[in-house]
Symmetry: C2
Subunit: 399 residues, 2 copies
């Protein structure tokens, strides 16, 4: 099957489009990325997403409109990408669309102590927008979307979902592997050699690019949305006092499974960094440098804490995501994790930037075949589920 | 197949649960209601729905929580109903869930002149809540939900959807029929004898119970949610001046296809009635009486305006919905439409209160079989679509 994966992360800087070939049935499944592109969000759409995701007051109509507008955006991204790839939509069998998260509160933990607004309680909730019926109508391709609710309904955190794909694509009888994705948030999937699904664990270690990106936007007044090639950070120096303080963030001490997002490392965290940086007399490049080191240090600390059983071969750390393009971050990871064999995911056949989009193509493929596609050991769910809603297509207007 | 239909209308007074037996393939399809019950919403949930549907300021998190809480409510309603029916969830093949509409703006018309908040435009949008993944998880039954978006994506108003079911269930080679549903809003589906799908038309004539219910709540300070058996109205008398004024509402003069809702006949309309009623020195029972007559008169006027072609037999007006229990309303309809043969829908095998829930069971059944289940002549869509999102179930926690 030829499957398009559409992904937009919490930083909402654009839509990742992966065109994948997938065949087989787990555990024997093959998924390869044929082409990949990231297309930017229109600026006003991105701004609305960030505003709403940060908890701005809106009406049901605003959310409804955003859902349909994002459906049009995702559809356009899919069609634009396919045109660039020289592939006709008629030759694509399925689209897996993650949607844009505008709210997420995983099930198990907080809900027990947290309050509920209603006499009827929900364990947690999550809201992804980007109407799949619009994507199906514009492309003429069936869509599987909205993967997180079914995991929350099964008692899970609704995240992380990518470890299911990590397990299918990276597990090995011989090698113990950790998949590390450096997106807005840094997350790891730990797959011991020969592991069964229930032996796989996964969690978010903390921020990857989210905080760096926010700082760059602030320091450059929106001229630079991220630190390209880590060049800005490399002109700065470490502020040890600031790093020490930031490492005391309670999230890093929290036990896994745990998920991070804008709630922990969003606007408020950036404000805190800026006010503390002023106390440390840090220049902008020093602050970005220090936060880049924070990312590497929090990942390394989390992995060291795990006391992974060391077999004959070294653990492989297979790295993907935008952060792989940041040499300072990668060098720091190598320095802090000398016992690991660090590899870019392309070394095992998965283009660094395409991994998450590929994962949602794979989740869609499994849902389409009515097979469970969740990993309870990663999300804390009580059982597996078939994640995703299926929207059939009836051809497009023009054919 | 045994299919449960779950429906909650704009008045949000409860969840209709119909258990239906459906078999066959259109045009030869059979759908019968085995059992039916309406279960009330928890008061706080209903209040939140109405507040949010009237445009209250909320966060994305509020909408997200409401979606999951309503998923739990719908699941509980389905399970409670099945227990009362003495039917095990394991013996049910599918659930069709309409969800609770908290925003709806149909596509074709307004969007052309209306403004958009974004550089990317959506033709219209609609938002139903009541997470189907929760319903599937709690019941262990696959769910088809969220039918309206695909019609809007195809250029339609996303409403009305019930005419698709009306056409399948009521069309006749011999009889020309109009299905009239008296829910919160009154809607008609016009099916000439021997009609092809594209010859079927449908529209909302205006309010049915929505305004009466709102007045009853106001006059009884929430003690009565509706005018049971029309008893309150029957104690009053017609205020001709008020009726004349209300009949001048621009909606009644608008050309069909047209859809009505809380936007036209919600809070603001009720306030207008109350202030005008004061000028006419109307007692509460006179006001409810007059608005009951308004319902019948606006329906009759709409049908008379259509100049329906009269064949050998009289047109049949097949009436369903809560309004069928209002003798004053039914008597007025009979008086105003003497050339019609007025029948309760139970006369053609569809229990009056169960028709809408049955319709969504039938729409789900068609979507499950990957067949188009929309009627473009009713919604204004450019083409048919497979309405509804399919959520697979993996059994429940307990088996």
């Amino acid at each position: 099957m030829r499957v398009v994966g559409l992904m937009s992360g919490t930083s909402a800087d654009g839509v990742d489009v992966a065109l994948a070939r997938i065949h087989g049935t787990p555990p024997r499944i093959s998924a390869t990325v044929e082409r990949f592109v990231t297309l930017p969000y229109p600026a006003d759409v991105r701004e609305a997403i960030l505003r709403i995701a940060e908890g701005a007051a809106v009406t049901a109509g605003d959310i409804s409109e955003l859902n349909f507008v994002l459906g049009e955006v995702f559809a356009k991204c899919a069609l634009t990408a396919l045109r660039r790839f020289g592939v006709s939509p008629a030759d694509v069998d399925l689209i897996g669309s993650h949607g844009q998260t505008i709210f997420h509160q995983g099930g198990t933990r907080r809900s027990r102590s947290g309050h509920s607004n209603f006499s009827v309680r929900a364990a947690g909730s999550t809201l992804q927008v980007g109407e799949p019926a619009v994507i199906a109508a514009r492309t003429g391709i069936p869509v599987v979307a909205d993967f997180r609710p079914a995991d929350i309904a099964a008692g899970g955190q609704g995240a992380p979902l990518v470890p299911f794909a990590d397990y299918l694509l990276l597990r090995s009888a011989k090698f113990s592997r950790i998949a590390l994705n450096l997106g807005g948030i840094a997350n790891v999937t730990i797959i011991p050699a020969g592991a069964q699904p229930q032996e796989v664990t996964a969690f978010d270690t903390g921020p990857a690019n989210m905080v760096i990106d926010a700082l760059m936007r602030r320091f450059t007044r929106g001229q630079q949305m991220f630190d390209s090639d880590g060049a800005f950070a490399q002109r700065g120096r470490l502020l040890p006092g600031l790093l020490r303080t930031l490492m005391e963030h309670p999230y890093f001490a929290k036990r896994s499974p745990k998920t991070a997002g804008r709630e922990q490392f969003g606007h408020a965290f950036v404000e805190e960094i800026l006010s503390r940086a002023a106390a440390h007399r840090g220049r902008p490049q020093d602050v970005v440098h220090t936060v880049t080191i924070l990312t590497a240090a929090s990942i390394a600390q989390a992995l060291v804490k795990m006391r992974l059983k060391q077999g004959a071969a070294a653990w492989e750390l297979i790295v993907s995501g935008g952060g792989t393009h940041n040499p300072l971050l990668m060098a720091q990871l190598a320095a802090l994790l000398p016992s690991f064999r660090i590899l870019p995911s392309s070394a095992v056949g998965i283009p660094e930037d395409a991994k998450e989009a590929l994962a949602f193509a794979l989740l869609a493929y499994e849902a389409w075949h009515e097979r469970p596609n969740s990993l309870p050991s990663a999300t804390g769910a009580r059982r597996t589920a078939i994640l995703g809603k299926i929207v059939h297509a009836c051809g497009t207007e023009h054919g």
